[in-house]
Symmetry: C2
Subunit: 447 residues, 2 copies
């Protein structure tokens, strides 16, 4: 078997080289004081008013399993960069620190930590690449899918993205992120089985093409899969709809839905719906696919197209309109002192933090405040411990409850947050006076 | 250990559900005639004049290992869609057909097959999702990286993308695709070890921040890693450059390079270069990073910025400007007859194909022609067999030779092909008269 994916014992090598060279430098200097690293994004990607935090509970659990098997240390040794004593130290490495996270599904805004690590600086540094890769991808996917689900306005959205997502890891982890966002089903077989999502699929054009007769292909498929979805646009969509009518009405076959995958989807859906309704086939649903994103979905429904569901793949799966998140994992405290960075456009607010979410008397969410970690507010603290002293302290949140959290929170927020075009400012995030004072002190010390 | 990535024996489940339901339908109908499926893209992504084909030899080898272990069939069985006899058939499945591919690294244009499968229709259908996922990602990454390498005009480009690529599978396979494109090194430790690329890394801002004194942090790192690269922009880039001068000139430390990661990279590079040169430190190189893409690299060099290398991550790794490829895997022949599809905007040219690349008397490449597979031309045929009757028949091409193929071919093509903005038409691709005639015959038969 070609070794394609990382093997379990290769987990610790899924990192940038400098994490390991810095770790050796800290080790050589005996710098074992606790550090706080904070994971946040500086600005929202294009068109977004909010992101759904995702991946952080997932990766926090993974961190507790991170270790360097001897065989992997031998591979590292071939790089000629590491001393035997340091490799021996790595062999004994287990994460011993604390990780606080936003629960998955939490709507999150710029500068709010999605995750904070407090651990000896070597340990916290070693997590960087793994933590960023996980949370970057899952947050991007969950957030994009949330937009499609919002646009679909209660109609089911099915993940068709596997073939054009960036690798199999993305496709699999996507299924989990999509559940958080509220998708209904996925075409991804392994994803469905692994994460307990409904597996869904229709038929491809090739199936029609391989048969001499489209109607015969429909008949065979509907007999084999009662309630199935038939694909209408291989040759002529309306002619295909008439074949469906013959099969469903005259032959009594159980056809659950039809799929339109090209052309003017709204106009075709109206024509097909009209033919089906005239034939008394109100029960056959119409689903559409083909290059859809949240804006296309919204436009179809705004035009009252009689569409019952959406298959969404490429645009959602590659997060085509905004495939990157300006995510950073930054040292904000070392040995009990605030640390900052002063690069142009990349200034830091130092110190360990908490994020508070405020509601008014009616339970509507009004705003957030980022504070120093020890401050108290009469509001909901969002960052919760998931790992303490290297051990998991919070039961894994079921994905359904992450979805409930996301949806209930979004619904309680100002409507602008749920908009598909960016509204500035859609949501208010304050920074506490104590945090600003800490930053000013740190800046003054630096000057 | 959390099971995060697909396991080797889960390979066959990395597929869309409809591949399996269609397979069962073909099986139920005893449709075992040979089919030809062709993988191609209909149009170039934005700004591109060419793509580098990548992933096809990789995935063709994987296909020969594809099978359905009993444990996975038991999981499939839980979906309630598959008959026991069909699952038993799947248990005996091994790919028995032929696969022709463009060698990896081949510059490729719209409608040219990157891969063709000839196999019993069930088998060919079952490969769709796997083949598409692999070739889509690797072709996108290799093509994007090629653009960055072209822009860097001989200066080394290092992959810094792991943290923001879409998952670990993308980051790993990216290293391979980047080698085809001509990158010099990667920060990805596992990728470097697995694919034999140079591992590279510098230091993060956190390392500077964790020390009270930037100069002391530089000193410690340079002592530990002679020839290392020091990061200058944590606080004040020019002040940091002066510290580097003291360490290199006055203390004699071996500092190989400095990295600038924010601010006006061109202006800072000039100022830092000037200070280093004045101090007699011509030997210290300047590398830059921070949100770079091919256009930023080109602009820096066009302005004569004294930059010796580029670290490129997010934009390249997520293919941010064009993260999707309009890739399709389509049935073009079944049971010896041409097959077509007539969806609006998605018409097919039927039949098995060959792609020929023509050169003039000086060895310059002039154009391509897509023909029926059995046609002959006095030119180079690009599609080569890699799997025949289920067995690999072509030794795995070393990645270095894929890179040579890419680069030598690009250099022999019209200059417009290598341009970073789309030039219409940059390159001529003809379709043979016999192929057009076959399409017209198939269309006539359909009408």
């Amino acid at each position: 078997m070609h070794t394609l994916w990382p093997q379990s014992d290769e987990l610790a090598l899924l990192t940038d080289l400098y994490e390991l060279t810095m770790a050796q430098a800290y080790w050589a200097e005996r710098m074992h004081e606790p550090a706080v690293f904070s994971l946040f994004f500086r600005k929202l990607p294009a068109h977004r008013n909010v992101m759904l935090a995702c991946g952080q509970e997932h990766v926090a659990r993974l961190v507790t399993e991170l270790h360097f098997p001897r065989a992997q240390l031998d591979r590292l040794d071939t790089l000629g960069l590491f001393k035997g004593d340091f490799l021996a130290w790595l062999e004994g490495f287990r994460f011993s620190g604390d990780i606080h996270v936003l629960p998955e599904g939490t709507p999150v805004f710029p500068h709010e930590p999605l995750l904070e690590v407090r651990a000896p600086v070597i340990e916290a540094q070693l997590l960087e690449t793994l933590v960023m890769n996980y949370i970057n991808l899952e947050t991007l996917l969950a957030s994009k899918a949330m937009r499609v689900v919002l646009a679909a306005d209660g109609r089911p959205v099915v993940d068709f993205g596997m073939r054009r997502m960036h690798g199999m890891d993305a496709a699999l982890r996507g299924v989990r992120a999509y559940q958080v966002a509220g998708l209904t089903a996925t075409s991804n077989v392994l994803g469905a089985l692994r994460y307990g999502m409904q597996a869904s699929g229709t038929m491809a054009h090739s199936f029609i093409q391989a048969h001499h007769d489209e109607e015969e292909a429909f008949r065979l498929y509907a007999r084999l899969y009662p309630g199935t979805t038939l694909l209408l646009d291989t040759y002529d969509t309306l002619a295909a709809a008439d074949k469906v009518i013959r099969l469903a009405r005259d032959e009594g076959l159980d056809i659950g839905a039809v799929r339109l995958d090209s052309g003017d989807l709204g106009a075709l859906a109206r024509q097909v719906r009209s033919r089906f309704d005239t034939a008394g086939l109100q029960r056959i649903r119409i689903v559409v696919s083909g290059g859809l994103d949240e804006h296309a979905v919204q436009a179809l429904l705004a035009a009252d197209a009689p569409i019952d569901g959406f298959g969404v793949g490429t645009e959602m799966g590659s997060v085509a309109d905004a495939p990157t998140l300006d995510l950073a994992y930054k040292l904000t405290e070392y040995a009990g002192e605030p640390r900052l960075k002063n690069s142009p456009g990349k200034q830091l607010v130092p110190g360990a933090k908490q994020v508070w979410r405020f509601r008014d008397g009616d339970g509507r969410i009004t705003h957030d405040e980022i504070t120093r970690r020890h401050e108290q507010r009469d509001a909901e603290p969002l960052l919760v411990p998931v790992v303490e002293q290297g051990a998991i302290v919070r039961p894994e949140q079921p994905v359904a409850s992450a979805h409930d959290l996301a949806w209930n929170t979004l619904q309680a927020m100002p409507a602008a947050v749920r908009g598909l075009r960016d509204a500035e400012p859609a949501y208010r995030v304050d920074t506490s006076a104590a945090l600003l004072k800490l930053r000013d002190q740190a800046l003054a010390e630096f000057d």
